[in-house]
Symmetry: C2
Amino acid sequence: MTQPRRRSEATYTGLRCRECGHPYEATAHHVCSEVCFGPLEVVYDMERIKARVSRAAIEAGPLSIWRYRDFLPVDHDPIDVGTGLTPLLRANRLARRLGLKRLYIKNDGVNMPTLSFKDRVVSVALTRARELGFTTVSCASTGNLANSTAAIASHAGMRCCVFIPADLEAGKVLGTLVYNPTLMAVEGNYDQVNRLCCEVANSHGWGFVNINLRPYYSEGSKTLAFEVAEQLGWRLPDHVVAPLASGSLYTKICKGFREFVEAGLVEEKPIRFSGAQAEGCSPIAQAFDAGRDFIAPVKPDTIAKSIAIGNPADGLYALDVARQSGGSITAVSDAEIVSAIKLLAETEGIFTETAGGTTIAVLKKLAESGKIHPDETTVAYITGNGLKTAEAVNDVVGAPFRIDARLDSFNQAWAKASGQTTAGTSPAT
Amino acid sequence: MTQPRRRSEATYTGLRCRECGHPYEATAHHVCSEVCFGPLEVVYDMERIKARVSRAAIEAGPLSIWRYRDFLPVDHDPIDVGTGLTPLLRANRLARRLGLKRLYIKNDGVNMPTLSFKDRVVSVALTRARELGFTTVSCASTGNLANSTAAIASHAGMRCCVFIPADLEAGKVLGTLVYNPTLMAVEGNYDQVNRLCCEVANSHGWGFVNINLRPYYSEGSKTLAFEVAEQLGWRLPDHVVAPLASGSLYTKICKGFREFVEAGLVEEKPIRFSGAQAEGCSPIAQAFDAGRDFIAPVKPDTIAKSIAIGNPADGLYALDVARQSGGSITAVSDAEIVSAIKLLAETEGIFTETAGGTTIAVLKKLAESGKIHPDETTVAYITGNGLKTAEAVNDVVGAPFRIDARLDSFNQAWAKASGQTTAGTSPAT
């Protein structure tokens, strides 16, 4: 084991309020309690970062998000379970379908350990939780975060209690329980779960990754930008499409690209940021469409449960990013989401959950309406794996041909399959 | 696009019979049809490989199995969907439970695109299939191979028809159908499916990844050795534990380490190879125990369906590897498999399918019986993701506490959870 890195080597200096700038110590604290109740964010010493980082040093680093450690708010050796460095796939067949020329899919559906981008933010949050002395960690989750918090807490040997809405998909419940946390299924939607968790955070003194540890946690999403820039050969994309739940992921991707520019790792250029929501929970898209400067909370009703946050904490910041970058925030129906899951699977061999379906459905809409230019280097972020929300496509993928283990039985079925208009599956014979 | 690499740059020269050495052209052919009906294998020009490879060149290569391209039997630009370079996790908490000191988990449960090691072999097989002019590809599968063949064929735009036993897990059926291949669910076990596929291969002229393309396909498993050696800092482990189905993966891991030694990339040292089977389908373990030189086929009856091959094609070669390396081949019960899935999840945050549970159960048995020395650097291969075989653990992970969105409701449940002997879940309240 190497010696723990001393705090003085860290590149961040503390927290500050995002609204009024009031400074805070780097403790477990997320709200500007002394002045304006704005959200807190991490402050970095960019000169120190610039003095330390280089393309070569990053390339020689670990095969995980921790190769970007100098951009992350931790003091000591991180909890590195191999999270990150997920594939960036050149998606030529999907691009042709959509009339695009340079399309890439960033696939966090194969992220380590729990197959969603949440493994990034949780790796950072639990590292910081350990540094701050927490022994019990927790979260309010729509599913993916519960999976990730429970899994990484297991690896780190931390006690874990997680909260989910009671109506989650079976795959997400099982994919949490297997790690043996204490799991609380709350009668209510995510926003109600979140409110309860704020009370628990206050009364029990636990480290909630997305509440009192939120300033650290949310920084983990920047690695989705860092990796894309590195994987594009140290270049920025022209256009990004990402899903919006709280709005944090979307804004942090923007921040990540900006920090890489500031650190001199990539050349600056304009990037347009397009956001994706499900119509059944689209408070940010509605505000964007209406040209409003406030978010009107909604009650979620969509199959895209992992992004069903009716009262999004970072909604206003997301609106800013969309407007200032010349992007947009678009909502799609549940039927479009399911079609898009199938489209991505059939053209590129990537099976994503409903949040990814939302992203691809919006990508399709933007491409078809000319809002993405064919020549733009476009990156669509797939944030979770399709096996977690199997219910969403179970009824629409058809069924296998059932045959006997004889050549004539196969030949009959194959003739039937070949006679169909698609090469695809059919109802069971 | 770069120019296709010319054949003359390939490092392999053809095929030969593994038994009698008779040479064959590098076509779609897997059996020594001219002499002895032995299996065919790829022949390399090791001098050419040695002249070309270096640690630095590999490290600068793609973030996928194709960084080891010089060790793989392809001519032109490969189908690179980002497969491989999966995390090698230092598993200290599991190690402590088992009384070991240097334990690593190689986790192909997060492999791209379909969460199993099969993505490696299929990437190689479909690349070669395309080079050989096949437009329809196929396989006989216990599930993971069907997922992978369907997915990568989608990305490559190849027509795909896959065969599975009709009783597979729902996750594996859905995880194939979503890519829209033609899926044949055969009434019978894997060995019957395989026999049918041999007939189809002969009569339809398709590229079957694990039949007529098998010599190429199986080479993909060597990358599981290459990656571990690189990730250990260009060193070999002392002990390897891997699951056995046909026996191909296990023998190819051994071959991969040997080739790295021959190429001068790592220093030679003895490695012990231990194999894992489920008691309900353990023909190779039975032969090992009995000291037999032949495999008596069995009829599979185990929850570990992905490794339930009753008549394993490479069983004898696997026996040789176990015996010559001082390893063993061990069988475990379905109950031990389920416990091991939970053990790995609870200690390391990795959720594996039944095949991985088999591997960890055997690892546990070997550690407890002293057959793995505590100081050995041991690598256990996790070959697939737990979400694919959710059924296996559904009944044993407990259920969430169901609570109202109020602090008192939570506090009651938490008191109950804390009063339990484990910190874990309980039946629904």
